[in-house]
Each structure stands twice: as C-alpha cells, then as structure tokens.
C-alpha cells in the first residue's frame, strides 16, 4: 500500500472523491497541505484574495453544478473569515466541504498563535464537523464529510486539521474507502406511498390548487419531474427565490416568484388556494409574511421535504411527505396517471380565469422615465435579452437581487445563484467566479449593487490571475437601496447611514487598475448598445457601472403583519 503523509492523503482523498478544484488561501497551519498541493496536478487550487470569497466561490461552483464545493483555509482568521460563507451555504442547504487548518495538537487550547476553536465557532452553521485526531483517519473522514455534505438535505461540513497531522515526515498506508455506512445517519429515500396517495387525492379534488416549489427541487435535481407533474395536472405554480428555475419561467402555468417581493398573481393565488402542494420549501418568513395565522387560510397543506424537521416547523402540514423529491414526485405522477378520479377541470378553469384577472394587474410593469434615467428593472430586462435568458446569474443582496429575481426569467435550474437564506452581501461576485470555473464557456453574470460589490471587490485580482471573463452589472443607485426603501416606507424617509454618493469610487477606473474593462452607462438610450458591447468582450471581465434611478422601490412588497394577499403595489397603490 502507498505510504502518504497526512497532507498528501488529504489532497489524494479529495481527488479520489472526484474533486478537481478547490478554493483557498494559504497560511501557517496549512503549509504542509499546500506543499502537498504543489507536488501534484490532479486537484487545481484557486487562490482567492479573502477566505470569505473562497467559500462563496465554492458555493457558486456547488450551486451551478450540484457537486460539493471545496474550501481550504488556514487556522484562526482564515477559519473565521470563512464563517460567513459557511453560514450562507448552511442556510441555503448547499453541499460544501471546508478544510481548515488548526494549530498543532499539543497547542490546542493554549491560545496559540492563530488559534480558533473552529469546530466550536462553526457548530451552529454546519451540518457536521470533524476534528482530525490521527493522520490515518483522514481518508475515512474525507469520505464521511462528502457523504454527509452531499446527501439528504445538503449542507456544509468542516474538517479541522491540526498542523502536526499533516507533517510530511509521518507517513501511513493510504487507502480510500469505497463505501461508507454511518449508523447514526440515514438518508430518506422514497416517500410513504400512503401519504402520497392522500396528497394525490387532495390534489385531484382541489378546486383552487397551487404548487409552491423551492430550492429543494433544485438541490434534489427534480426540475424535470416537477415540470412533468405540473403540466400533467395543469395547475398554477410559483417558485421561491431559492427555487427560481425549478419550473420554466416562460411557461404559461408559471405565476412568477412569490413572497415578500413576489408577483401579485402568485401571492393572491397562494392566499386563495384550497390545496397547496409545497415541494422542497420551508415556509420561510419571507414567503408566509409575519403573521402565520393569516397564511393560506383555506388551504389543505401538502408538504414534501427530505428534512423531517422542515415539515410543520412554521406551518402545520396536513399531509407531510418525507422523502427524496425525485422518487416522491415520480410516484405522485404515477398515481395521478393511474387514479380513477381526474383533475376537476371545470373548477380549474374558473380558477385560471381568476388568475388571469390577477395577471392583468401586471404587477411587474415598468414605466420608463421621461428624462432618460435608467430604471434598474430595465437593466435586468436588457441583460436577459442580450444573454437570451441562458446565463448563469449570481446576485448580491438588496434591491438589485429582487429585480434580478423578478425580471430575469430562469427556464433552467442551477442558473440563479443567490444567497436567499442568510442574505449575504458580497456573495454574488465570488459565486460567479465559482460558476465560471465550473462552466468556462458559459456566460456568467453578476448582477450587483455598488454597496454589495464593495464587500468582495478584492476578487477582481483573482479574476485577473485566472482570466475569468465574468460580466459584472452594477445597478448603481448610489445608496444601500433596500435599506433606503425601508427607511422611505417605515422611517419617514430618514436615510440613516444608507447613502454615500460623494464617496463612491469610479468603478471603471478601479477595475482598469486591476487590468479589466470598465463601462459606465448613464442614459437609457445607451443601455442596450453598451451592454451588448460589454457582453461581446467574451474573453474579458467587464464591469458595467449602470447609473439607475436612485428613488426606485421594489414592488410588489408584502405589508408587514398582513396575509400574502396584502401587498404594496407601487408608491401610490396597495391591495
């Protein structure tokens, strides 16, 4: 058997696990591991400029491929810098393995240089974590980590590795386990047939049915079977922010995104439905609004999820189904096809007529400005047209994120990369890097704001080093737009620390300093042409700084404490 050191074993185990790329940043505690990386060419290491960006890049890689993203950071500040990205992945159930260096075993607990209790500080934001005690345990721990990170409800797993464990002088016989069985960890498989039958019965007797599909459909690779089931039933469907792309946005049955900034028709259909089929969703407060008692008052709730703890956590499910989403939906489709009872077509027709009326409201209509000021929504519409709706689109957090979600119609899963759960500003740019590494020939766009981009703009250097042709489209409203919107709506327009127009950098010069190309667009008349020019520079990173209407708000917007039907539709209209 081959003799390897702990550091060599770690990298070899990653390769044996099928990992070809990792994102990281070196430091004292991981130098043995970095030396092992130097001596091989199977696992490519990407040097980022901040550990937070390493985790977001791995996250973007994971979201866009379905494979686990892998991160390598040093102890202490390296590890703590990674925490935001780990929490981001945890909230959105993204498979990720984070290897953090640790001080030597003999120094643990002594407040050694660059020591942090990584297993301790990451505990509430990981699916599981390991502290390696013996080098010989490395192959098994790596195998376990990937198994746990990628199966069931996915999530981040931390492997904390004391420096002495990776000592190149201490070798052990290396063998990567072919299989792993954990007595304390079971992955739900197919759903309970009796429960599925109950759900099918409810669906087939529904008069006003609604399908509410979320990130679990994307993580579970179930977009195709969801589409088949939805078309077979002929029911209206909405996607959550995390679920965009789970059902084709261009399809007639799609009512748009729901929730706090969802479409009028999606939120109205949710409120008035009589049977709600939730799939891979968690009834998040950005969907249900703050008062749960007002949520879908007439609906029988069917809830499919792989995580039993997600079911009846906030909204009690009438028919809970725990299982892997693909076999559950397959069995559902099969039972629907074989059932003697059929969809109530007459009632469904009435329901669709009602929905058509709601659609007439055209809640996402954009009124062009008279003076040529660019509306942020118009920018997303233009990006959609130019990329033919087929790009990988990441976003940061705030108004631009909602505009991207509302106006970029995703027809495919894994194209929309955003921090839905944690809401992490600074996520978008490194996430786009991860997607671009995974899909070198695809168009990767980061729709961001001038606030968010400054939270990880150091990655402009990484993009130069690896020649990543990302297109950054910055909706520059010279303010923390979503904060400002809330201050407009709830704090009498007092813009406490949400504006900084006088101190914004010249982004075109900034990116030029890094060797990239910068465009600035100020008038609507130039928007389309200049964006096209930017996207035509296929081999370059282009930063497009688009000056947009600083007073624009995101609508519709849920009214706090109300039901889903209660929305602000514009600066002058409420439901």
């Amino acid at each position: 058997m081959e003799q390897l050191s702990g550091g060599e074993a770690l990298i070899r185990a990653l390769h044996d696990e099928g990992v070809d790329i990792i994102f990281g940043y070196p430091g004292g505690a991981v130098l043995h591991i970095y030396d092992a990386i130097f001596h091989q060419d199977k696992v490519e290491h990407i040097l980022v400029r901040h550990e937070q960006a390493a985790t977001h890049a791995a996250d973007g890689y994971a979201r866009s491929t379905g494979k686990a993203g892998v991160v390598l950071v040093t102890s202490g500040p390296g590890a703590t810098n990674a925490l935001t990205g780990i929490a981001t992945a945890y909230m959105d159930s993204i498979p990720m393995v984070v290897i953090s260096g640790q001080v030597e075993s003999r120094l643990i607990g002594s407040d050694g240089f660059q020591e942090t209790d990584m297993v301790g500080v990451s505990r509430p934001i990981v699916k599981h974590s390991f502290m390696v005690q013996r080098a010989a345990d490395i192959p098994l721990i790596v195998k376990k980590a990937f198994h746990i990170a990628t199966t069931g409800r996915p999530g981040p797993v931390v492997i904390d590795v004391p420096k002495d464990i990776t000592d190149p002088k201490i070798k052990f016989p290396y063998e990567y386990p072919a299989e792993i069985k954990l007595r304390s960890y079971a992955v739900p498989g197919k759903g309970h047939s009796g429960q599925i039958k109950k759900a099918v019965d409810a669906l087939l007797s529904a008069k006003r049915p609604m399908i509410y599909a979320g990130g679990g459909v994307i993580q579970g690779n179930a977009a195709e079977i969801l589409t088949r089931l939805t078309r077979k039933l002929g029911f209206p469907i909405t996607n959550t922010l995390m679920g965009l792309g789970a059902y084709p946005a261009s399809d007639q049955q799609f009512l748009g995104m729901l929730g706090m900034h969802g479409t009028y028709e999606a939120n109205m259909a949710m409120h008035y439905c009589d049977v709600l089929l939730g799939i891979g969703v968690r009834f998040d407060d950005r969907v249900t609004n703050s008062d749960i008692s007002k949520f879908c008052p007439d609906a029988t709730i069917l809830h499919v999820d792989i995580d039993p703890a997600s079911i009846s956590k906030t909204v009690a499910a009438d028919v809970p189904i725990v299982g892997d989403v693909v076999p559950v939906l397959e069995e559902m489709l099969d039972q629907v096809s074989k059932s003697r009872s059929k969809v109530d077509k007459e009632s469904l027709e009435v329901w669709w007529k009602q929905i058509a009326q709601w659609r007439e409201k055209d809640s996402l209509a954009v009124t062009p400005s008279e003076d040529g000021t660019i509306k942020p929504q118009q920018v997303v519409q233009a990006v959609f047209e130019i990329t033919k709706g087929d790009a990988f689109v990441s976003s940061d957090v705030g108004q631009h994120q909602m505009f991207a979600a509302q106006y970029y119609g995703f027809d495919k899963p894994r194209r929309w990369l955003n921090s839905g759960g944690l809401g992490t500003m600074g996520f978008g740019f490194p996430a786009a890097m991860g997607a671009q590494f995974a899909h070198p020939d695809a168009v990767c766009v980061c729709i961001t704001g001038e606030g968010s981009i400054q939270m990880n703009q150091q990655e402009l250097a990484t993009c130069m080093q690896y020649q990543l042709p990302i297109k950054i489209v910055c909706l520059n409203n010279q303010a923390l737009g979503m904060v400002k919107q809330w201050q407009d709506m709830q704090y009498g327009g007092r813009h406490s620390h949400s504006t900084y127009a006088e101190s914004l950098p010249d982004f075109t010069k900034l990116v030029e300093a890094y060797g990239h190309v910068g465009f600035k667009i100020e008038k609507f008349a130039d928007l389309h042409d200049k964006l096209e020019q930017a996207f035509a520079l296929k081999d370059k990173l282009v930063f497009v700084d688009v000056m947009v209407d600083p007073d624009e708000h995101v609508y519709p917007m849920a009214i706090k404490g109300g039901a889903m039907k209660d929305m602000v539709l514009s600066k002058s209209e409420r439901t």
Binding site: V119, G120, R123, P124, K127, H128, S129, M131, I148, L182, R183, S184, Y185, D307, P308, A309, S312, K313, A316
Partner: protein
Amino acid sequence: MRHIISVLMENEPGALSRVVGLFSQRNYNIDSLTVAPTEDHSLSRLTLTTSGDDARIEQITKHLNKIVDVVKLVDLTEGAHIERELMLIKVKAIGAQRAEVKRTADIFRGQIVDLTSNVFTIQLTGTGDKLDAFITALGDNVVLEVARTGVSGISRGEKVLAL
C-alpha cells in the same frame, strides 16, 4: 408539558456540545441533563428534561435526530417509564436537630453517607418531585449544599433503547 428525552449518541468529542448547542441555538430550554457512556463504550446515553407543547417537542426530537452523532432517541414520557434522580445534600445537624434530620431522612429513605459533629451529608434517590419534597421538609435554614444529578430514566417493560 415536561418531557424526558433519552438520546443514544456516538461517544465522540463534540457530540455533547452539538446536543446542548441545539437547545440554545433554537431557543429550547433544558431543565436537567445527564450523560455517561453505556455498556457499549462507543455510545453515550444522554437524558434531558425539557418542556413545551407538542409541536415544540416534535421539533426538538426532529432536530435532535438530525444531529449526525445522534443514533437513536426516545421520549420516555410518551409511555410508562421509570425516572430517578440522585441527590447529595449537606445539612446542618447540631444538637436536637440531629435526630430530627435523621428521622426526616428515614421517612424519605435517604441515607446518611457522611457526618461531622455539625453536618450530615445525605444521599437520596427518587423522582425530582420527591427530592424537592425532601428539601422542603428539611427547611431552608438547614440546607447547606445540594448536588443533584439530573433526571435519568428508562422505559417500563420490555421496550429498550438500544441499537
């Protein structure tokens, strides 16, 4: 309602902190906690008491089950069960008090396990309620120190919590 939940978990470093962390992270309360290895040294048994309505207890057991180190668990209060807690209590015992404290301990089937001319140390086993009642019976001005183990429990009959 009060629940006694027994958890079999991997006897690994960090396992206990994951369980305890879950409770603080999700704002669940722990009234008592006891943990020790079982006859199978790869497993620890942790027993905790908590309270909440059915929905809350359901969430607690689901989240406990999600912890990778947790192998199996049971809510003992769902069925017939035996619960015990051990208390070591140091009480003042001077002059006439000595006979009185001894009588009270006998009534509660406590044992005096250590004594000095001024102090008795009494060992008492039973349900939490019984231990509370003993402390009340002794009276506040007698009690010097209390060490309680927290509740441990096991199902009645043939039902077992094992692999």
